[in-house]
């Protein structure tokens, strides 16, 4: 598909009733929001991301998708930050709030965010009870993935085996091939409705050279990642629940909860009841919660996790270790948002590496004696 085909794609999706969303520049950052034309995408812009810093700058070339991730992933679309669940009155009959799940096509979903969506599906539907509100919103999504050709410095999907190439979980996927004046997209369908759209897109069948170039781009992107999660982190953290490093992290951690808010898989929420002044009407709301707050661990008589060290440990061990026990998979997809959007730049890969290094150090000193 020629580069201009992006607008054809947006048009085809719109004509099928989808509101098309993509990454757009807003307040000097990328936000996931509705777009009308491909010209609104941050062409040529990339994130100069580091621990605690996310800045948008001019990239080295004129690619549409050299940027990586909007601040929030798909989580907001399937698990809103706040929502009313039901209302009730003097009859005490709960009236469910209908889910307003308008069809949305997201253009430019990265492989890590696709993996995060799979993770959320496992969380909301994997057990004996299924969250019907999640399913209605998930069914309303049409996903156009983009395979990454350039990592941000905070990316570590290769070590989490979630990217930089999407194998499944999309309706369409794009590889952006930019070579001199030639600017095309390799389009792959991953579902029946994706194939319908693909059949109507301009362009011709892909040649072997383009397929090779796409694969090579993904390999180069994986190789260029500066961060990686240590091998065997699930067991590593379980063996080190009393490690002094948790207190060391707590000296830096602000317990502000930013990491959990931007994490595309952090699903914790709380229920709040609101009532009218006269007490005749009441509503139940659900909103995102975070294990970094005091209230989160409030049980009868007080909060269990008073110290920041125990909150950080709870988050990281749940994400990387106990998620396996609970959901049969890792809770981390390697998107690096928690690293970039932490105001003080705490790096989950570095914290894991520090604990791993101390273990190796202990083994060595044990060998010597």
């Amino acid at each position: 598909m020629p580069a201009q085909g992006l607008d054809d794609l947006i048009g085809l999706l719109s004509s099928r009733g989808y509101e098309v969303w993509g990454a757009r520049e807003r307040d000097d950052a990328l936000g996931l929001m509705p777009i009308e034309t491909a010209a609104e995408l941050p062409r040529g812009r990339v994130e100069a991301a580091e621990a605690g810093r996310v800045r948008l700058v001019e990239g080295p070339r004129d690619a549409v998708f050299d940027h990586t991730l909007p601040m929030h992933g798909l989580k907001r679309l399937v698990h809103p930050a706040e929502e009313k669940l039901y209302a009730t009155g003097p009859d005490l009959v709960a009236r469910d709030e209908a889910v307003a799940a308008n069809p949305v096509a997201v253009l430019g979903v990265r492989p890590c965010d696709l993996a995060a969506l799979e993770t959320l599906t496992q969380v909301f539907e994997g057990g004996p009870y299924s969250d019907t509100r999640y399913r209605q919103r998930r069914d309303a999504l049409f996903l156009v993935a983009v395979n990454c050709m350039r990592p941000a410095a905070t990316c570590f999907c290769a070590s989490m085996h979630t990217g930089p190439r999407a194998e499944a979980g999309f309706d369409l996927s794009l590889d952006e091939l930019l070579d001199g004046d030639r600017h095309v997209f390799l389009v792959t369908a991953g579902s029946a409705r994706g194939r319908e759209i693909l059949a109507e897109l301009p362009g011709e069948a892909a040649c072997a050279a383009d397929l090779d170039a796409a694969e090579a781009g993904s390999r180069a992107c994986a190789a260029a990642q500066q961060r990686r999660m240590v091998e065997g982190v699930e067991g590593l953290l379980k063996r080190n629940l009393e490690h002094p490093h948790w207190s060391e992290v707590a000296e830096r951690c602000l317990s502000c909860a930013n990491c959990t808010m931007v994490c595309p898989t952090c699903f914790c929420n709380t229920l709040e009841d609101r009532s009218s002044l006269d007490g005749a009407e009441a509503e139940r709301w659900r909103r995102w919660d975070s294990c970094f707050t005091l209230d989160f661990s409030y049980l009868h008589g007080g909060a269990v996790r008073r110290e920041t060290a125990s909150r950080y440990r709870q988050w990281m061990t749940h994400k990387l270790s106990h998620w396996h026990d609970q959901f049969g998979m890792s809770g981390c997809v390697g998107c690096g948002r928690c690293i970039g959007w932490c105001p003080v730049g705490i790096d989950i890969t570095a914290e894991a590496a520090a604990i791993a290094a101390s273990e190796q150090g202990q083994t060595r000193s044990g060998d010597e004696t």
């Binding site: 317990s255 502000c256 808010m261 707050t293």
Partner: protein, 255 residues
Amino acid sequence: MKPTLAVWKFSSCDGCQLTLLDCEDELLELAETVTIAHFLEATRSRQPGPYDISLVEGSVTTAGEVERIRQIRRDSRLLVTIGACATAGGVQALRNARDHAAFKAAVYPSPQFIDALDTSTPIADHVPVDFELRGCPIDKRQLLETITALLKGRKPVLPDYSQCVECKLAGTVCVMVAHATPCMGPVTQGGCGNLCPRVGRGCYGCFGPKENANTEMLAAEFAALGADRRTIRDLFGNVTAGAPAFAAERARHDG
């Protein structure tokens, strides 16, 4: 008989009481639900105590106020302090760590007539307080939620999370991470409705320290962003400068 509500003013600017009048749509309903027994900003008519709920604005800055708050406490079933002055001492608490006599001499031609304590202190330093509403001014929704909950005998829903959570719930871009703007949000309790960061400004800390506020690390980050000592001191020296966590951090960057 309807429950009675009283509103009291100590050393303050009246802005928090004004939030009650700002309720507009809900004000008439509130007036039907409770008897407003004492609220000088709204009416001259006064009814004697006891009162079911007292809302107390302002800090304690004179010997007379020390006596008056004790009487109000005796007259009130529930005492709720409202705003940064009542909960942290207000901007006037900046004098607490300074030479009060020198301030008086610098400001007033006849300082001998100024009958004020050397410190400005929150209400809770003087009498037991049932609930605190933070903010400068307080948030209207939190005020209505608190009155509604207390009238029904349930616990008000008042989050103790950081301002960052409010930003992220609202989808506001982090001004520190994306713009390198020093922001008090990570150590400040949320509740204002994300007022400053959503227009690209750093949080001023009006709601005071969140629990577990790691001010030392945030101050180090301000320095890494290029803020000098005085700037860092002043960031911790706004309307909640008297709150212990902020006062201690401010002191580390003073002088």
